[in-house]
């Protein structure tokens, strides 16, 4: 039987609980996002007394049903209108992933619709395809966030080959820890970016690991330690981050940000050349950084490649990007009751 034509009438519910965020979205088969609810960014926040517990599967348990309800309500879709249920099963924190999986399995069973497994990394890069509104693959993909800094050769939306990843800290984590050292707020990416605005990115020359190395790996741990040494000396003396002069913080933040961005862009350039790809997709929370976006645009202009970065709400964790589940659905890759979660990064495909 030929597959049914793509239709706006078929909708899937996607559930995301791989780390901190609990999220749900309804996406139709044309990849129209009918709703996208992220627990920390909605009125649900208020329902929990303004405090969203950041960490713990218990928090996901508390939030998941209200988030699903809200996603259905905003999409004006009833449970019985769904054609499939998708859920992120990897990579992530096992206890958190299990909350989403349990909810998704239950719904799929009760509604008697297919259950589709989603890889969080593939979803992040599929956000680029959704933003572009057309097929972008094959492409080089970079997922850069608090927990990930990984480069992929993306043969198609569901066939990724890992080219390299961080050997220590993720870029977003480096921003968080630099912000802590400089007395700036959490999350560190946005607070470093704001502090860096008045600063000189060339004021301090911080290390750029593997910059002239052909291997497509990242390391931000040495950069973090260099910042500490610059701020507190060697060996580091006790200091009060809040008492650092504003102009010094601005220069340190700008120089630190420049070092992170330089490495990220350089490795993308290398990967594009090594794999002769014309398209670069970037996903993850760090892709929200303005300086990074500027440098990516320069890369696009100089290397004559297309660089796609989704809007902010699709960079940070969300369930709309799990629309990649439609790709699996169309290929008949649906899961059964035995579907389980996987903690780690997929290294070989």
């Amino acid at each position: 039987m030929p597959p049914a034509p793509i239709s706006a009438s078929r909708k899937l519910l996607a559930i995301e609980s791989s780390c901190d965020e609990t999220a749900a979205a309804v996406i139709d088969e044309r990849l129209c996002v009918l709703s996208s609810v992220v627990a920390s960014q909605t009125a649900l926040h208020v329902r929990f007394g303004g405090v969203v517990p950041e960490v713990a599967s218990r928090a996901h348990v508390e939030r998941i049903l209200p988030v699903i309800d809200e996603a259905l309500r905003q999409a004006v879709v009833r449970l019985e209108d769904l054609s499939a249920v998708a859920v992120v099963t990897q990579p992530g924190l096992v206890g958190s992933l299990l909350v989403g999986l349990t909810a998704a399995k239950t719904l799929a069973l009760v509604l008697d619709v297919p259950l589709v497994a989603v890889n969080h990394i593939e979803a992040h890069l599929f956000a680029c395809r959704m933003h572009a509104g057309r097929d972008l693959f094959p492409a080089i993909g970079l997922v850069v966030s608090g927990g990930h800094t990984s480069l992929y050769d993306c043969h198609d939306p569901l066939d990724f080959e890992l080219l390299g990843t961080t050997i220590d800290d993720a870029a977003g984590e480096a921003f968080d820890k630099a912000a802590a050292m400089l007395g700036l707020g959490y999350p560190g990416g946005p607070s470093i970016e704001v502090a860096a605005r008045g600063g000189n990115p060339a004021a301090y020359r911080f290390p750029r690991s593997f910059l002239r190395d052909a291997r497509l790996e990242f390391s931000f741990s040495g950069l973090k330690t260099s910042l500490l040494y610059e701020v507190a000396g060697i060996p580091p003396a006790a200091y009060e981050p809040q008492s650092l002069p504003t102009s010094r913080v601005a220069d340190l933040a700008a120089s630190f940000q420049e070092a992170v961005v330089d490495v990220l862009v350089a490795k993308c350039r290398q990967a594009l050349a090594a794999r002769r790809r014309q398209v670069l997709c970037v996903g993850g929370g760090v892709a929200a950084n303005t300086r990074f976006r500027q440098k990516l645009q320069e890369l696009a202009d100089n290397a004559k490649v297309e660089v796609v970065v989704p809007p902010l709400e699709w960079c940070t964790d969300n369930a709309a990007m799990s629309a990649v589940a439609w790709e699996s659905f169309h290929r008949g890759r649906v899961a059964d009751d035995a579907l389980d979660v996987t903690a780690g990064l997929i290294r070989r495909r």
């Binding site: 780390c19 950041e54 990843t165 802590a180 060697i234």
Partner: protein, 167 residues
Amino acid sequence: MSSNEPQSALPACWTFLSSSEDTTDRLGRVLADVLRPGDVLALVGNLGAGKTRLVQALAAAAGCAPGEVTSPTFILVQEYAGRWPIYHFDTYRLHGCDDFCELGAEEYLTAHGVCCIEWADRVAAALPADHLRVEIDIVGETAREYRFSATGPRGREIVQQLSGAAA
């Protein structure tokens, strides 16, 4: 137990000065030879001290895949398969012991693996009574001082073997 001496006769502390990353890798090998499943390393040290780096050295010596050990700050806990499983915790983002227990800490701590806990001071009350405390201090650009101290009989045994192995 081979010793009939009272446990308090064993040294409770051992300090190791590492001048370079290579020396840290050597420390990892010494540790891997001494540790056994069920042991708990409580890592204490400021940002940039080298907590993750020590776990990398230990994991490499215990036969884990190279490149597998990264900072678990975001994901909170990672597992590595080597000579024994290594459960690598990072409590930097946790709010306290409740969050730590929520992660399934008790199951990990009683599982048949070696637990390495970064920022262990933040979950001190949830640590098993008998563990090995590892305080790391930056003493030079590439130099780190590791202070191992025991909080119970198994910890003392490890400290004794470490000081013997490195002598």
